[in-house]
């Protein structure tokens, strides 16, 4: 309980401190409101325009979720294939690094041209960002699974599939989730860049761009806050999923204790 309190309280204190510093800078240096808003004005700009913002936020979330799922699945599949087949690993690894050295912004325009203004290019961009840490971590994890554990499975004649689901998959859960958390954090940034290159109707990125060109700095900063909150929320969701799916990392006993001692003793 105390631990939970602390793990919620401390981040809140940190965020509070950032808000305070921001407020002090704006007030202390007499920053004009069309240069940078006060933190509360930025928050206010979000709430007072929530009716307009909400559908845009939903749109961005949708892109992020789809892109994340595609990226995660692709990342895992690619990771497994690369871990299992050495020639593929050798051929694809340089391309993996290459893929991340391509500036996302330079990638977005051609993608839109090819895929149109639908949600597709956004999904591709988000997936492009998400798959990389997932693949790298899965490859790394799978190639470092304890060889003796794998031998144990072989000794008892386990099939490759059971070896995979019973040994290899759980063994890579930690690096896999690390990769997913990294991907989750950066996913929104990718979606925003893709939105800027073209959306039918409005988008969160365009809303911000528009506010920016109209000198509505409170709305600009407010939108940034919203984007950040989506990113953090997505990160926390994945982190929560990890806690749920890997109970052995934090607990000493399984949640549902089975009825023990069928012999009736003690």
């Amino acid at each position: 309980m105390k631990k939970v309190l602390r793990s919620v309280l401390v981040p809140l204190i940190s965020i509070g401190l950032v808000g305070l510093i921001w407020q002090l800078v704006v007030v202390g240096f007499h920053v004009q409101s069309y240069v940078a808003p006060k933190p509360l004005d930025a928050v206010n700009a979000v709430f007072s325009n929530w009716g307009i913002l909400w559908p845009l936020v939903l749109g961005t979330i949708r892109e992020t979720v789809y892109g994340f799922l595609v990226g995660a699945v692709l990342g895992v599949v690619l990771g497994v294939v690369m871990a299992k087949i050495e020639i593929i690993r050798r051929l694809l690894y340089p391309l993996l690094v290459l893929s991340q050295a391509v500036p996302i912004i330079a990638l977005a325009s051609p993608l839109v041209l090819i895929l149109g203004f639908s949600v597709a290019p956004k999904i591709v961009i988000v997936a492009w960002i998400v798959f990389f840490p997932v693949t790298v971590n899965v490859v790394d994890g799978l190639t470092h699974v304890d060889q003796d554990l794998l031998n144990l499975a072989r000794v008892y004649g386990a099939s490759s599939w059971r070896t995979f689901t019973q040994i290899e998959l759980p063994a890579v859960s930690t690096p896999l989730f690390s990769g997913l958390k990294i991907g989750a954090t950066y996913a929104v940034g990718g979606a925003i860049i893709a939105e800027l290159v073209g959306s039918t109707g409005s988008s969160l990125a365009y809303y911000q761009e528009h506010a920016s060109s109209n000198l509505q700095t409170a709305a600009v900063y407010g939108t940034t806050l919203v984007m950040t909150v989506i990113g953090i929320g997505w990160f926390l969701l994945v982190a929560g999923l990890e806690i749920l799916l890997t109970p052995w990392q934090r607990r000493t006993t399984a949640r549902r204790r089975r009825v023990a001692s069928p012999s009736g003793s003690h």
Binding site: D146, D148, L149, N151, L152, A153, R154, V155, Y156, G157, A158, S159, R162, T163, Q166, I167, P170, A171, S173, T246, W248, R251, T252, T253, A254, R256, R257, R258, A260, S261, P262, S263, S265, H266
Partner: protein, 261 residues
């Protein structure tokens, strides 16, 4: 010929016939033969690198030996085929993401659907050997000795008549090791399995076994196959028994003269 061979093999559960292993240019294991009678406890001692684990890996079906050898269990060849022995290493190899109960049933989980019967058996054996309280614990909550016990129970419920134990107590401290040795002897007596045991600890090999096989440095081969004259059950007191001391001295000299050759 087959009948003749079967006739010879019948008395032995495991028969290893001129099994050798060469990695690249180095021969690790010279062609080696060994018989293990049903229900017996046989230890192998030998210098590090003489191919003990290699031999076990061949019997377990993880490695294929050089051509010309044969391994049979109950008269049936198991060369290059897995699923015919129980195998346990110095590392306990428990999976951290499974509870004690699920680790004990791991072999079933690796080969088929786990049944309620499997679970019942795991609970029963764990309770019988003092781990009933820990059935829903994850391995990290256990001490080294408890983990080795779980690993051994997992090996037991695989229901193989032959158990290969490769230095299972090597990582334990001396006191825990003593406890585990007594415990292993209890279980062995109660379940009637056949055990082939590798250890570096000469005291341990004498304390536990019916026969002690001494191997030479690489390329490994059997240099002595000693029958243990000490009666069972054995207690700490056998350490001062002259037959124990003589046996230990013989083994140590066998190991040591080879070492400096």
């Amino acid at each position: 010929m087959l009948v003749g061979k079967l006739g010879v093999v019948c008395a032995a559960l495991l028969e290893i016939e001129s099994i050798g292993k060469t990695f690249g240019a180095t021969t690790v294991l010279a062609p080696t033969s060994l018989r293990v009678e049903e229900g017996s406890f046989v230890s192998i001692v030998g210098p590090s690198g003489c191919g003990k684990s290699t031999l076990f890996n061949i019997v377990a079906g993880l490695l294929s030996p050089d051509a010309g050898g044969e391994v049979t269990v109950s008269g049936t060849s198991i060369l290059g085929r897995s699923g015919h022995v129980g195998y346990m290493l110095q590392k306990d190899l428990l999976v951290p993401w499974r509870t004690v109960e699920d680790n004990i049933t791991m072999v079933a989980r690796l080969t088929r659907r786990v049944t309620e019967e499997d679970r019942r058996e795991a609970r029963e054996i764990a309770t019988r050997y003092g781990l009933g309280e820990f059935l829903s614990h994850y391995p990290k909550a256990l001490s080294g000795g408890m983990r080795q016990r779980v690993a051994f129970m997992r090996t037991l419920v695989a229901h193989q008549p032959l158990l290969l134990l490769d230095e299972p107590f090597g990582a334990l401290d001396a006191q825990t090791r003593l406890e585990m040795q007594s415990w292993l002897l209890d279980v062995w007596r109660e379940t009637g399995r056949t055990v082939l045991f590798v250890t570096h600890d000469v005291d341990e090999s004498i304390f536990l076994s019916d026969r002690i096989v001494v191997m030479s440095p690489r390329p490994g081969r059997v240099v002595a196959d000693l029958t243990n004259p000490l009666a069972r059950p054995r207690t700490l007191d056998i350490l001062t028994d002259p037959r124990f001391i003589e046996m230990k001295s013989t083994i140590l000299h066998l190991l040591h003269s080879r070492e400096n050759s």
